[in-house]
Amino acid sequence: MTNENPTRTHKILWIDEDGHILEPYLEFLEANGYKVEMCDNLSKGEKLVQSEKFDLVILDVMITPTEEEEKNAYTTEAADLGMQSGLVFFKRVKSYLEKSKTPLLVLTQRIGLEIRDKFVAEGLPQSAFARKSDLPTVRHVLEKLEEILAGK
């Protein structure tokens, strides 16, 4: 494992409840100069986006809301939006992301068009999506991030 571009340091917020599975990717990204902050719930992620500056935010579409989030209407609102809690999150942080010009990469295992259409309807470009199966290896992930950050 080598640091191919150690001079570059990018701060990334990765919101996914399966952080333990993502461990190899985090390791490889950090080895390649990325500082990745994992976040396993949406409200915390929401606060982080509002309070900190990130170069990129990676969001998993489906994150089970916490009890606190349920109180915070995530569940109800998510239900209204077709159970995509990630979409609720996006709607809430969209203005912050636009203000800070922070790109968002939405990762999903889903292959359907419906989820994408809803995000697109909220103003997210199609290119901001990636199927998880399209990025199977750590290098695939690294290349994808570099591609996004290069285009920022």
């Binding site: 494992m1 080598t2 599975i21 993502l22 199966s133 290896t137």
Partner: protein, 854 residues
């Protein structure tokens, strides 16, 4: 004078109406009283049989008068002879000659009396025709005796009896009337008969008369008064007979003419009274017959005609149907119609057991009556009764008239009945227009009630698939009794009717109880509230197609208690129409039931389909969910291994193993992604398909190199060939990877040992537009043949080629998903996959991946 005129007219009338002998017998009976015994039966000459023939009666009476006159004449001569107390031989010889001749005439008459009776009876039987044979011989005998007496008296005994010859002349005169009046004789016969008579009567008489006038014979002397009586008695008698004959004939002719005119007028009126009601529209067709016949009777009793009938009544003799069932059933006498000019007139009762079979007048003071049989085809169908306030002297003409009337009544009856039947059939036809079975049943029972005069009627139908007969409708019964009856095909007469399809009629049921099922009949009588008298069951349909039956019991009072041929006919017509209606509705019902069943089946099938679809969807969803769930750890492992492989410090052996592991995981990922996309597509989900730039050679080689590692076919070789201008493809990379994996996996699975799998990139003509070529990759392999007919089927889910299936020669395990997945993925990407089967080499199969155009 008027009294005299009346007397003479009456006597003249009676001379042609009533035998003098009969009148004498009646007079005797009146004088001697009722205790005189039945004198008429002893001396009855049957002359009453002649009363229908005025001419016959007149001739008969004339002969009687001849005898009586002869007796009076001879008695007068005898008295004169005695008064003169003379020994005149002339007187003696005259009396000695004439008395024996008279007695001889009487004796001959008595000797011929048996023949006369027989002839009169024959005459009666022959229906008022043929007088000739009755009196002809008497004319000859009388003429012969008188001629003989004259000749013997004049020329042998020499007594002055020449004027007797006038009696022969009178005899000839009356005989001429008699012969001409006999309708059986034509003019030739009359001339012939007269020419025969002449030699015996006229010629001798003329000769005698000539002798009397021309030869002056010395007759024996007789007293003057005696001679005068002897001379003028026969002359006056002859004159009297001639006058009476002419008067009577004139009288009879006059009467006959008047009678004929009346007869014609009445008959025309009667015929009109038949035709008029027939032309009328009637509301209540049930009374057509009685109204029509009543109208006829009204005309017969009209005061305009001269018969004097004041009341009339018609009876119908309903013949009981005598078949094997209804045996020993009496005919029924049914009052049909009546009319009386006097509203207070009471018709007498009729003895049904003693019906008049011939025109029979009954004498009485006021209510004399005439019974006239009504016949059809020589069978008596009823009779007409006429009541009149006069003594009846039924003439031949009147009898003929009444016979005509009876025929007109019969004709009217037939016509009215036909009209009634026609109207009834019209009403029965209305059943065909019924819009529902219930309406048809209701109308049918109403018609049975109306036209068959049934006290009770019911409709029974066979139940499908059982022997039961279901009671559909009834009229006139207390239903609770009927509901106790379990009617079945074959049970009782009702069941027999349904079984055999035969109409069954039983009149006089109480005398045929053995034919009936006791329980069934008991409940019918309970429901009816009375005993069943007449019973009829009519099948609806014929032998093998009996749908049910109509049953009627007890004709109501006012009509015959028996069911008749007419009833049978009408019932059959009704049943035949019910059959049509039932067929129609049953057919409709069948169609409706079939439609209902079809709908239910379709509904069930739809439900099953929905269930199956839901199940399939659930399975699809399960598969999709499972695929998702598999992808997460799969990706995690790929990620983890890929991280390991990034470490340059790895031993090559470990690297190789890790790469092998990763290849397996990629194979799995290709499979799972393929199934996930194909299944999601099939479930109707819209799939995201990216448009990646793919270098075919790179990807193809990467995949088959990977599969060479993971597959268990090291014997196979892969050859990649690409045309010069083959473009960079625009296709979802992830999807394309799965397609390639499926096709290469399929090829490596079935390829012959040591064979080469060729992957050729080139161009193919578009399947949609034969002018356009698009990029295509062919995957060629040699292996078990795929039949030409399987070219499309091979892409169906779970379909496996015949040669490789579990029953095929090259049996290989598999579930038949790979090619289905590959084609679905290409369809989703806008392309296609087809199979080319080589004609030259059936073992060569070429799967062609058609890429979408730009």
């Amino acid at each position: 004078m008027n009294v005299m005129n009346g007397f003479l007219e009456r006597e003249l009338f009676l001379l042609s109406r009533k035998s003098i002998f009969s009148r004498f017998l009646i007079w005797l009976k009146r004088v001697w009283g009722p205790d005189s015994g039945d004198i008429s039966s002893v001396v009855d000459d049957q002359s009453s049989l002649l009363e229908s023939s005025p001419l016959g009666t007149f001739i008969y009476n004339l002969r009687a008068l001849f005898i009586i006159g002869g007796i009076v004449f001879l008695l007068s001569l005898t008295l004169l002879g005695l008064a003169y107390q003379t020994d005149s031989e002339g007187v003696k010889l005259t009396l000695y000659l004439l008395w024996p001749v008279l007695f001889l005439a009487i004796i001959i008459a008595l000797m011929l009396n048996r023949d006369l009776r027989k002839n009169l009876l024959d005459f009666q039987k022959k229906d008022f025709v043929g007088l000739y044979s009755i009196f002809e011989k008497y004319f000859f005998i009388d003429a012969a005796l008188v001629t003989l007496a004259t000749i013997v008296g004049k020329y042998i005994l020499e007594i002055p009896v020449e004027s007797l010859i006038f009696l022969v002349m009178a005899n000839l005169f009356v005989h001429s009337i008699y012969v001409v009046g006999d309708k059986t004789k034509n003019i030739f016969q009359v001339s012939f008969v007269n020419s025969l008579i002449l030699p015996f009567t006229v010629v001798p008489a003329l000769i005698t008369w000539f002798v009397l006038l021309t030869i002056n014979t010395d007759a024996r002397p007789v007293p003057q008064l005696f001679h005068s009586l002897l001379l003028w008695g026969p002359i006056l008698g002859s004159v009297w007979v001639s006058i009476i004959s002419i008067s009577t004939i004139s009288y009879l002719r006059k009467k006959e003419l008047t009678f004929s005119e009346n007869t014609m007028a009445v008959l025309v009126t009667l015929v009109a009274s038949i035709t008029d009601p027939l032309a009328e529209k009637v509301k209540d067709s049930n009374n057509i017959v009685s109204d029509g016949i009543t109208s006829l009777l009204k005309n017969i009793c009209s005061t305009k005609n001269s018969y004097g009938y004041r009341a009339a009544r018609v009876w119908e003799l309903v013949k009981a149907i005598k078949d094997e069932i209804s045996q020993n059933v009496d005919d029924d006498l049914v009052w049909l119609a009546s009319y009386s000019t006097d509203t207070k007139f009471q018709f007498p009762k009729v003895d049904a057991q003693n019906l008049p079979t011939a025109i029979s007048p009954t004498l009485g003071s006021y209510t004399s009556s005439i019974a006239v049989p009504i016949r059809h085809n020589n069978l008596q169908t009823g009779f007409l009764e006429l009541y009149l306030p006069r003594k009846i002297l039924l003439t031949q003409h009147e009898a003929k008239f009444l016979q005509s009337v009876s025929e007109i009544i019969h004709l009217g009856y037939q016509l009215f009945k036909a009209k009634q039947e026609m109207l009834a059939l019209d009403e029965v036809d209305n059943i065909l227009d019924c819009e529902s079975l219930d309406q048809a049943y209701q109308n049918a029972t109403i018609l049975l009630h109306k036209y068959l005069s049934a006290q009770g009627s019911m409709l029974l139908l066979k139940e499908k698939g059982s022997k039961k007969l279901k009671l559909i409708a009834s009229e006139g019964f207390n239903r609770k009794y009927l509901d106790r009856n379990d009617y079945e095909v074959g049970r009782g007469l009702t069941g027999r009717c349904a079984e055999k399809g035969e109409l069954i009629l039983v009149n006089d049921v109480q005398n045929h109880l053995r034919l009936f099922d006791e329980d069934l009949l008991s409940n019918v009588e309970g429901g009816l509230g009375s005993k069943v008298v007449s019973w009829m069951a009519i099948p609806i349909g014929e032998k093998d197609d009996v749908l049910g039956l109509v049953k009627v019991v007890n004709k109501k009072t006012g009509a015959s208690k028996w069911y008749t041929d007419f009833d049978q006919g009408l019932a059959r017509e009704l049943a035949s129409r019910l059959k049509v209606v039932l067929d129609k509705f049953i057919h409709l019902e069948d169609i409706r039931e079939a439609q209902q069943r079809a709908l239910e089946r379709a509904k069930a099938a739809d439900l099953e389909k929905q269930k199956a679809e839901k199940l399939a969807k659930d399975r699809q969803q399960d598969l999709i969910t499972l695929s998702h769930q598999l992808l997460t750890p799969l990706n995690a492992n790929i990620g983890r291994i890929s991280l390991m492989l990034e470490d340059n410090r790895l031993f090559s052996s470990l690297r190789t193993r890790l790469e092998f592991c990763n290849s397996l995981l990629f194979d799995a990922q290709d499979q799972i992604m393929g199934i996930l996309i194909a299944t999601s597509r099939e479930s109707g989900q819209k799939i995201y398909v990216s448009k990646d730039k793919v270098v075919a050679q790179e990807m193809t080689k990467a995949i088959y190199e990977r599969m060479r590692k993971t597959g268990n076919r090291p014997d196979l070789r892969f050859e990649y060939k690409e045309g010069n201008d083959f473009p960079i493809l625009t296709i979802d990379k992830r999807l394309f990877s799965s397609v390639l994996y499926s096709l290469i996996h399929n090829a490596t699975k079935y390829a012959d040992k040591g064979s080469v799998i060729k992957l050729e990139c080139g161009f193919e003509w578009s399947l949609l537009d034969r002018n356009v070529r698009h990029p295509a990759i062919k995957v060629k392999s040699i292996g078990p043949p795929i039949m030409f007919s399987e070219r499309e089927k091979i892409f169906e889910r779970f379909y496996r080629g015949q040669s490789v299936s579990n029953t095929g020669i090259y049996k290989e395990p598999g579930i038949g998903l790979g090619l289905w997945v590959a084609r679905n993925l290409m369809w989703e990407a806008g392309g296609d996959i087809t199979l080319e089967v080589s004609n030259e080499n059936s073992r060569l199969s070429i799967f062609v991946i058609h890429f979408p155009g730009d």
